[in-house]
Symmetry: C2
Subunit: 702 residues, 2 copies
Amino acid sequence: MTYTPTAETPEPVEDSGATVDVAGLGEVLLGRWAEIRQAARDLAGRPEIHRIDGLPMVEHRERVVGQLKYLVDAGAVHRAFPRRLGGEDNHGGNIAGFEELVTADPSLQIKAGVQWGLFGAAVLHLGTTEHHNRWLPDIMSLKTPGAFAMTETGHGSDVASIATTATYEPETQEFVIHTPFRAAWKDYLGNAANDGLAAVVFAHLITHGVDHGVHAFYVPLRDEQRNFLPGIGGEDDGYKGGLNGIDNGRLHFDQVRIPRTNLLNRYGDVAEDGTYSSPIASPGRRFFTMLGTLVQGRVSLDGAAVAASKVALAIAVRYATERRQFNASSDTAEEVLLDYQRHQRRLLPRLATTYAASFAHEQLLQKFDDVFSGAHDTDEDRQDLETLAAALKSLSTWHALDTLQECREATGGAGFLAENRFAALRADLDIYATFEGDNTVLLQLVAKRLLADYANEFRHADFGVMARWVAHQAADVTLHRTGLRQVAQTFADSGSERKSANYLKDPETQRQLLTDRVSTMVAGIGGALRNATRLPQKEAAALFNEHQHELIEAARAHAELLQWEAFTAALTQIDDHGTRQVLTWLRDLFGLSLVEKNLGWYLMYGRLSAQRARILGTYINRLLSRLRPHARDLVDAFGYGPEHLRAKIASGAEQERQDEAMAYARSRRASGEAPMDEKVLIARRKATEKLSQKRQKLEAKG
Amino acid sequence: MTYTPTAETPEPVEDSGATVDVAGLGEVLLGRWAEIRQAARDLAGRPEIHRIDGLPMVEHRERVVGQLKYLVDAGAVHRAFPRRLGGEDNHGGNIAGFEELVTADPSLQIKAGVQWGLFGAAVLHLGTTEHHNRWLPDIMSLKTPGAFAMTETGHGSDVASIATTATYEPETQEFVIHTPFRAAWKDYLGNAANDGLAAVVFAHLITHGVDHGVHAFYVPLRDEQRNFLPGIGGEDDGYKGGLNGIDNGRLHFDQVRIPRTNLLNRYGDVAEDGTYSSPIASPGRRFFTMLGTLVQGRVSLDGAAVAASKVALAIAVRYATERRQFNASSDTAEEVLLDYQRHQRRLLPRLATTYAASFAHEQLLQKFDDVFSGAHDTDEDRQDLETLAAALKSLSTWHALDTLQECREATGGAGFLAENRFAALRADLDIYATFEGDNTVLLQLVAKRLLADYANEFRHADFGVMARWVAHQAADVTLHRTGLRQVAQTFADSGSERKSANYLKDPETQRQLLTDRVSTMVAGIGGALRNATRLPQKEAAALFNEHQHELIEAARAHAELLQWEAFTAALTQIDDHGTRQVLTWLRDLFGLSLVEKNLGWYLMYGRLSAQRARILGTYINRLLSRLRPHARDLVDAFGYGPEHLRAKIASGAEQERQDEAMAYARSRRASGEAPMDEKVLIARRKATEKLSQKRQKLEAKG
């Protein structure tokens, strides 16, 4: 969106004198697990675990295997496991430490995630004590590298529809794991192509002719020489768009037998005679509970995406404050990139979003720890956690890709070189948008939760953020149809830009606008779908599909609101006046950029008058000018050092080059050795000609 | 943007019965140089020149060098050179053929572009006959691989500010090429790290103490053993985000002497005594004329970006018509991806944009050929060509990145595998957004041209697309301030959705909306800047900077309008009724998606009533449903075969897997061997319990 200027001139940008307490802000950003996070950063700064650009796939894979052992030795990856097995029972801290590894090498991070966060966590959360004792020590020590065999070639985010079966035979007391056709091959699994000696395999549990839905089984894959065991086969997924330090691959099972006790039986068990039992009666709820124990993948990707965005902005903002290009305002000095309005527009709103995502992630992490530590572990807590993780992971992983790309482009050709980090980080993080749940599918889950909450509205009075539903939805429709609300705003501001700006920067305005959009969208869709349950299946699905796009946009709006709320809540943690001032501008930039992005909606539904809408762009530009002097402090507060950034353009080299070039130009001017510009010569010649013509005229007259 | 549904139900989607004549449409898409384009595709389909994923950098570079020789032998790269030297003097055809190479390997394409399109073209267009005879044969045959040494570490898109100097010495009749400081090193040059034996070096020409601005010099770099000649040094740029088959590097010159006659002297010469002369008196115009001869780089990137977008969509659309996921509408069959509204929203508007960009590129290519063949080669033609190339290259290169990414995500984990092409194509094309002119800088150039045209408006009556300026700009402001225009639309439609839809699909409506936005934006900025020339330099620059974001958005809107006009013009070339019907829907989708993207603007300035705006989303969804059955035909018409797509998911393998899975399920159901779903079991048990309770009650009563 763009805005043609209005008649009134905006007030001049004042240097408010506010300064940022970089160290203090850094502490706030580190969050509840500051110490672990800091220790993980120290580790991530070590060259032994850094990515080497251009390493061929095979060598990169080998290097990462070695690095995993390094992590074990450094005691960096066992925090979530039980104390009695050498862990710390610290779920939040574990994730906080894990997500910082992304700055070293995302391949290392994700391979560690596969081993301890998926394979190990499945044994921990879906298995019972006997399983823990039997398998966790070797998983923790990396003696048993393993795969997490959930996804199939034919089924990604729709886990319930996987086709691998585990059929119980009472005669042998064994499960028979079987892949019935090619689409049911397990696919994209880290540790599957080479290293995995075992796997947690997800398959439909069948006993006594009944399919009890998806359960998890511990299945040995390879012998010590890494040859597949009988009945097991696979393929290497080969070269990928990124994360080439991980040996992703495919697995298939031809009537592979495992003991009955290899069923990870916390949520469903089979007795020797084949009788099925479960503490959760409903198959649907059982399935979601089992999958819910694996939410930490999404939580950690959210955090890793935020960390990568911080690294990218720290590099690009530093470069933008040193690099100069084009000289519009002076004949001798070129402009610093970040003084260009467009460059501010490219980097600063993304910086604001990164702060919002960071604060929102900290809330998510605390919620996660509350549930997994057992402090607050009701069904509703687990549902809230699921929804929050789905919402935030989608937004932050897309945001990281967008930010890495914008930073790459904002640093030009230099940004394309591996030595400046963006390209590889972006390539590695690409898959974050679709693994551990495809973002589009996740947002649809969020939307369904919103619709369910909406349906419950009349039964329960409060449900978190959703509490602000407008009770007078009907009256509202009338208002926006007639445009009466717009007219009211126009009269209220009576033509004053100042009043409009005051309106926009009021946090209550921002909250109301953002909340109103979510609630109105959900109510609209809810209304349209209210009869769906009474329709035949096919028609109901078609009706739902007609609103799928809106649904997903509503979920996105909801997630953005959650980020805005988290940012606003974080402001109260900041005592330093100057820091709070600057962060408040940054929060305003985040909130108002969201309004700007969806301006059509706000105008269409009469939530903003055209007059206030026209101020919005101008006011955002003013916020950019205010934030410009603090940009460097705001990225410094992320706390990443040169050992994390590892980008030549963020090393001070650019400033040196600029200084050298300027010193050279100064000395040339001083020495008088500089050649004269042809343009100056032409101008002088013209002046001389004019003078001589004048003289001739005068002489002619005289 | 998203839209809550309105009360009225949209009319049911009719199957219009229209069919697409795939072959006929394919012919139209091939354009004026169909034969050359087809020959280049045949070549690009050969395995010898295909990219091999995961090849280490050194081997990839070697492979590409070999492939360049293959292109020479195939007679594929000499079309633009003079007939008397073995070329064809065919400028448009040369580019048409060149841009098709992107499907084989973008590294190969760009390395060829460096050799013949930049290095060779600089000798051709900036040199004179003697230079052509002396150097072109070895450049054409690849005996002399060469670099195009324009960009410096310290100056990318601001070529006028490069700091390398070429100072003439009358005593020796030599130019002394010199790099005064680190920022002036030539950087990012293909052929510089390894292969270049010579370079065209851009440097400020200084003679008799006067700097005549940037000129081009032919400078030998290395001896036959590829050792640098005295005074020359360099560095390898190393591993990059993509295009790793090209040896990009840096060069610096320490008082390197070359003969006077190595100045490429078409636009500026130095006599033996050091006297400077040029056919173009103005240094500014001379500079832009020299740079203008190199516009073909931008033209060809536009075409290559379009080709890559086509390949991506051909893969993703085919997969989306075969792959199934989730089963909302049936218990036995899952949905095909492209039947999901959101999936249509993700792929089909990008398909529409690709068609628009393709037709616009063909216009650009014809304009380019008109200028370079001399058919229409006035100063104004060259300026128009520059502006058109800058506008279209920016949009299409960004579009290609966006499309490749969306296709990657829309195909999930499969899209991340190298075997499905997206990742590497995206990585390679990343740099297209900032090389041959940074897109942001290019759009700013376009905007400046628009502003200049605006300033000329009162002097000249017609200037192409810009002719539709609203004469009653003042009256207009009153209209949108009061909202009177909105009210008028509301009355005109009198609440009918049908009337609103008819309004939106009228091409005159689309043209008027798109044109109006450009003209209003430019007029607004023009008005705000009208006094800038009277301000001191610093203040004028600050005022300009305050409107930089709007300026660039205005340029983008202009470029989008050009694409829309090209699409609309192309419709007249299509005789087949069904094809024209389908393409008209696609054009409508393109135009209305642009309106939707900027809906805030249209509402804020009263160009659309809230009522019509609310129909827009619904109408776009209806277009998506109409286009859905034709999606496969529309990508097939691009004419790329399996030898160009080379993606496993576009090979039919997915359909095979789906068929196999469905056949398995059918046979299981038929055999009665399928296990019973636990949910069904529970439902039956409940039904039985209910029945027995009823019976008990009855018995109790009885």
